[in-house]
C-alpha cells in the first residue's frame, strides 16, 4: 500500500498559540511569537516544570485566540523531550482533558498533527482536538548532555535546544488552513552515535521521507511555497541536500529549516542552529500558519525531524535513529 495517507474527512487548523524564552525572542522571529518570558522560568521553580508551563501557556494562547474555553476540546495529543514526557503530563493534566501521549523526539509536533487528523477523520464524536509540543533548553541540556552550569565546550555541529512551545487546534472543515495529506516517518539508522550532531543523525530519515513522498505523489518541491523542516540546522540541511541530489531532487529556495530560522547566527552563538520539539511547533504557529492565513503561502510541506535516542542508548553504543513524519497543508476557500 502507499505511504501517503489522505484521511477521508478534511481537517482544518482553526487556532494556534506560541510561547518562547528569551533567546528565541531575541532572534529574527522574536516579534511574531504570542508570548515570551525573559527569565525562561514561566513562573516555575525548576526548568522541568517551566517546560510544562510552556505547554500550558501555548494551549491557553490558542484557546484565547479562538475565544474558546478548554472545555470545548475533546482530545489532546502532546509530547516533549523529557524522560517519560513529564513536561506534557505535568503542564497539561490540570485541564482534565482526554489525553494521548506521544513520543517522537523533535518530530512530535508533526506526529501530533498526523494523529489528530486521523482522530477527527475517524470519530464523529470528536469536535475539536489540540496538539501541544514543547522543549526547554535548560531541561534538555542537563537531561541529554550536561547541565548548563558545567560550562562544557560545544562542538560546531551541536544544536541549541529551543525554549519554545506551540499548540494548534483542529476541527473538521473544508476552508482555511487544511491538512491535505499525512505520512508517517520510518526509523532510519544512519550510523551516527554522536549526541552533539543531531543534524547528521536526522538527515537520512528526512531524505527517506522526502524521497518516498515525492516519488509516490509525483510532485516536486516547487509545487509547494515552502518545504519546511523542523530542526536539521545548518549541518543537517547541508547533508539532506547532498542525500537528495543523486535522486535529482533539489529543494532550492523552497527549503526553510525552523532551527536555522529561529536564531541569528551573527548575534547568537547557537552553532548549527535550533532544535527541540518546540522549535517547529513555535515557528509553524508564529510564522508559517500566519503566512497561510494571509494567503502569502498557499501550500506547504511540513516535515519534522526527530532523533530517537536516550543517554543510556548512546552510552551502550547504540546509533541515533532518525524519523521524519510529513503533513502537507493547503489554504482552501
Amino acid at each position: 500500500m502507499g505511504h501517503i495517507l489522505k484521511p477521508r474527512e478534511r481537517v482544518r487548523i482553526f487556532s494556534r498559540g506560541s510561547a518562547v524564552g528569551h533567546d528565541e525572542y531575541r532572534g529574527p522571529l522574536g516579534g511574531l511569537f504570542d508570548f515570551h518570558d525573559k527569565t525562561d522560568r514561566f513562573g516555575a521553580d525548576t526548568w522541568e516544570k517551566a517546560e510544562g508551563e510552556l505547554g500550558r501557556t501555548a494551549l491557553n494562547l490558542a484557546l484565547n485566540r479562538a475565544k474558546l474555553s478548554h472545555t470545548v476540546l475533546d482530545l489532546l495529543f502532546a509530547g516533549d523531550l523529557q524522560n517519560q514526557c513529564v513536561a506534557s503530563s505535568g503542564g497539561l493534566s490540570s485541564f482534565g482533558l482526554p489525553y494521548v501521549g506521544l513520543y517522537g523526539a523533535c518530530s512530535t509536533f508533526v506526529e501530533g498533527l498526523l494523529c489528530a487528523t486521523m482522530a477527527l477523520s475517524s470519530c464523529r464524536e470528536l469536535s475539536r482536538v489540540g496538539v501541544v509540543t514543547t522543549s526547554h533548553n535548560c531541561a534538555a541540556e542537563r537531561q541529554f548532555r550536561l547541565p548548563l552550569e558545567y560550562g562544557g565546550q560545544r562542538t560546531p555541529t551541536a544544536q541549541w535546544t529551543a525554549t519554545a512551545g506551540g499548540c494548534v487546534l483542529l476541527e473538521r472543515g473544508e476552508s482555511g488552513v487544511c491538512v491535505d495529506r499525512v505520512m508517517a516517518g520510518r526509523m532510519v539508522d544512519g550510523g551516527i552515535s554522536d549526541a552533539a550532531n543531531m543534524g547528521a543523525a536526522m538527515a537520512p530519515a528526512a531524505a527517506d521521507s522526502l524521497l518516498r513522498f515525492f516519488s509516490e505523489s509525483g510532485e516536486v518541491p516547487t509545487d509547494y511555497d515552502a518545504v519546511v523542516t523542523g530542526d536539521l540546522g545548518r549541518e543537517g540541511s547541508a547533508i539532506l541536500s547532498d542525500l537528495l541530489a543523486p535522486h535529482g531532487i533539489s529543494l532550492g529556495d523552497r527549503h526553510r529549516d525552523c532551527g536555522v530560522m529561529l536564531y541569528d547566527p551573527d548575534r547568537q552563538d547557537v552553532h548549527a542552529g535550533g532544535s527541540g520539539c518546540g522549535c517547529i511547533a513555535s515557528v509553524s504557529c508564529a510564522y508559517f500558519l500566519p503566512k497561510m492565513e494571509k494567503k502569502e503561502m498557499k501550500r506547504i510541506l511540513l516535515m519534522a525531524t526527530g532523533a530517537l535516542m536516550s543517554p543510556s542508548s548512546i552510552q551502550q553504543g547504540g546509533a541515533i535513529i532518525g524519523i521524519a513524519p510529513i503533513v502537507t497543508l493547503e489554504v482552501r476557500e
Copy 2:
C-alpha cells in the same frame, strides 16, 4: 461531546504474539505465552537492548501466527517504559516500517489499540497496522528506582515490572475479535508521590475512566464477560473498588487484573503484583484474546493503567499522574 468514540469503520484484531521472561513463564499463565527466555536476555548484552528484542520477538510471533511477512504492515504504533522509548526504536527500527511512537507509561498498549483503530478507520491506504509494547524488569528497576544489584528492600505496595512484550495486528473487518468502542484516558492527579505505590497512583484514573464509561454508555460491568485492568495490582484493585462503590458500581467477579494474574503470590514474591507496558499486552495476547477466539468470552472491556512520572518529577516533588484509556472488544460472526 461524548468521551466514548465509535470509529466509523470496524477494525478487527487478526493476529497476536507474546513473549515473556523467566518469572512470567513460572507464573500461572506460563504455558500460554508464545515464547519465553529463561535468561531474560533475549540474546542481547544489556537489559535495555533485551527489552528491544522482546518487542521485535512479539511482532515476529504475531506475523508468524498470521503467516505474513513484516512487509505487509503499513504502520506500527509502539511504546515502552524506557527513557525516550528507546526499547521500541532500538528493537523495531530494522523492520523499516512507518512508525508512530507513543508514551502512556503502562497504559501504552490500549493507547496503541485506540490510535491503530483510528488510523485504520480514517485512512483507506492503510491495510494492516501493528501495536507493540514492552517492559523489562531489570531495565525498568534501574531506571525508575534502583538497580537490582543494590538489593533494596521493597515495600508491600511495590509492584514487579513484568519482563514481557505483546503485539497485536489489526485490519478493517467485520468478523472475529473486533474493536467496538475506544475512550482516551484523562490525566488524574490523585496526590500520590510514592514511586513504590503505583497502584494507588493509578486507581483514581481507572475509577475516572470507568465512571465516565458506564455513565455515558448506560452499561454495567455484568454486560461484559470481563472488565480487565492492566496493572493495578492487589493494592490498586482494592482502591479502585473503594472508589467505585459510592457510585453504586461493583466490578465483582468480572474484574480481572493482568498484574495480579501474571504471578502466583504463594510462590513468587512480587508483593502487590505485576506492572509494566508488557503486562496487559502479554496477558491480553496470551489469555484474553485466545478466550475470545474460542468464544469462551464474547465481550470484554480492556482498560490499561499508566503512571505518568519520571524519577526527576518525583525528586522535584511532583505527584504521580495516572491515566487509563479503554477499548471494548467483541466477538462478531
